[in-house]
């Protein structure tokens, strides 16, 4: 059942749809017409031109953002959502606080300013995922991974092929890695260490082998002139090294030092 429309309302609707001639002598049409006549009036041309100028300037300023209305709309929706979510929702505030706390803890852990138990726990947890975080008591401020095996003392890791039976086999560490850093900077006491190492009697026939191995070494590793001069005097009249050892023994000791054994 439809409700019958009030005649006044019906007349009003007809008038607004321009279905009634505006010149009809009707009080309702007169009302609408007089309302428009009383209030609808264009501005003076000066005012119009001023407002049009403002409008055109505003339209030109808004023009660059008009090229991607969809993207702009998406960004705006996401921005408004995130701002409103964080500002009004309890969950959003909790997430924000947790994020701040995590960032602060991470920063303090990276710089080693956390209490020791917490620093140890975080360092251990981070090491599982390959992140290096200093642990308390570490020698350096940064832990570079699992601790390296201690460098054995004594003869260096250089494997020298021995031609004959060795009466006193030197405790060479064949398993030690060869990847020691190249001695680009010689230690200050390298000469003394080389001399002390040369006290060990060399195995027979090692000089040629050492020289062969020296030929395969890089030039960078062969910056040994200074040390060679202090071990093997070029002047035959110079005094022999203490102990009267073989110059080749001094050379082997030097190589042991340089290649990791004596450092």
């Amino acid at each position: 059942m439809t409700r019958r429309q009030d005649p006044i309302d019906a007349r009003f609707e007809h008038l607004l749809r321009e279905q009634v001639a505006s010149s009809a002598p009707d009080p309702m049409s007169t009302l609408v017409r007089d309302l428009r006549r009383a209030y609808v009036a264009p501005f003076p041309m000066e005012t119009q031109n001023r407002q049009i100028a403002d409008m055109v300037i505003a339209g030109r300023q808004a023009a660059p953002t008009r090229r991607s209305p969809v993207r702009r709309r998406v960004d705006g929706v996401w921005y408004r959502f995130s701002q409103r979510f964080i500002a009004t929702s309890v969950v959003g505030k909790v997430i924000l606080a947790a994020s701040v706390a995590t960032a602060a803890t991470g920063g303090m852990a990276a710089t080693g300013h956390l209490p020791d138990p917490m620093q140890i726990a975080i360092s251990a947890a981070a090491s599982h995922v390959g992140v290096s975080i200093p642990a308390p008591g570490a020698p350096s401020s940064r832990v570079t991974g699992p601790p390296e095996p201690p460098v054995p003392q004594g003869p260096g890791p250089l494997q020298v092929p021995v031609a004959g039976p060795s009466p006193a086999p030197a405790p060479t560490t064949a398993a030690a890695p060869r990847s020691q850093p190249s001695p680009t900077a010689l230690p200050a006491d390298a000469c003394e260490q080389a001399r002390s190492a040369s006290q060990v009697p060399p195995p027979p026939g090692t000089q040629d082998d050492v020289l062969k191995s020296l030929q395969h070494m890089t030039d960078e590793q062969l910056e040994l002139d200074e040390l060679l001069q202090c071990l093997v005097p070029a002047d035959p009249a110079a005094p022999a090294p203490p102990g009267g050892g073989d110059p080749s023994a001094g050379l082997e000791g030097l190589l042991r030092i340089l290649l990791g054994g004596g450092r």
Binding site: Y39, V40, A62
Partner: protein
């Protein structure tokens, strides 16, 4: 007396817009912006004046600035665009009133019934009788009734569009319109102008319709 020739004046109709001009305006053509402004600004200003805006010229300028800024996001036809512009005008008017309540700057009342209405030679020739009575009648309406009636009369908004603009239900808007028309009838009917020249005004009713 208001002559009949003015009855068909296009200025007193709801402004019609061309869809092609609207599409050009959305695409960024400045001539289309100007055409839309020249076509719509009298009605927008009329709505703002009728609602008692303090400074209808400035407010109309702000309305069209907002229209141009938001035009890329508009989608619809010319009729929808006209309704959209009047919704912006309605919102701007409310913002302006809130601002003036919060920061009162002008102690002089912005609306004075004793002052003549807008520029209209015919009304002024008749001593502004009709304009004054219309202003008084509209001022007797509640704000919601005035919003509904004036958005429909000046902007040509449908009942659904008015309901959406005012955030009200359709039935509520219908009721507001009905009560507003009845209030206008009640407010305007007792006025009797004896002058024969003013006999065509609505407040000199001869029939029982309104």
């Amino acid at each position: 007396m208001i002559s009949e020739h003015s009855m068909d004046d296009d200025r007193f109709r709801i402004p019609a817009l061309d869809d092609d001009v609207l599409q050009e305006a959305i695409a960024g053509s400045e001539w289309a912006w100007i055409a839309l402004y020249r076509r719509l600004h009298p009605s927008v200003a009329g709505y703002l004046r009728a609602r008692g805006a303090a400074e209808p010229e400035d407010l109309t300028g702000e309305v069209f600035l907002q229209v141009i800024r938001s035009l890329p996001r508009f989608s619809g036809d010319a009729a929808g665009f006209r309704s959209w512009v009047f919704v912006i005008a309605h919102n701007k008017l409310n913002d302006d009133r809130r601002h003036r309540l919060r920061f009162p700057t002008d102690p002089v009342p912005s609306f004075d019934e004793s002052q003549p209405g807008p520029v209209n030679v015919e009304m002024e020739a008749l001593g502004n009788v009709g304009a004054v009575h219309l202003r008084r009648a509209i001022s007797k309406l509640t704000p919601d009734q005035a919003d509904v009636l004036l958005l429909r009369i000046f902007g040509g908004l449908s009942l659904k569009e008015v309901a959406a603009a005012l955030h009200k239900r359709l039935t509520a808007v219908k009721a507001l319109q009905h009560r507003g028309l009845a209030a206008l009838r009640k407010e305007l009917a007792p006025t009797r102008i004896s002058t024969e020249a003013q006999r065509n005004y609505i407040y000199e009713y001869k029939g029982p319709v309104i």
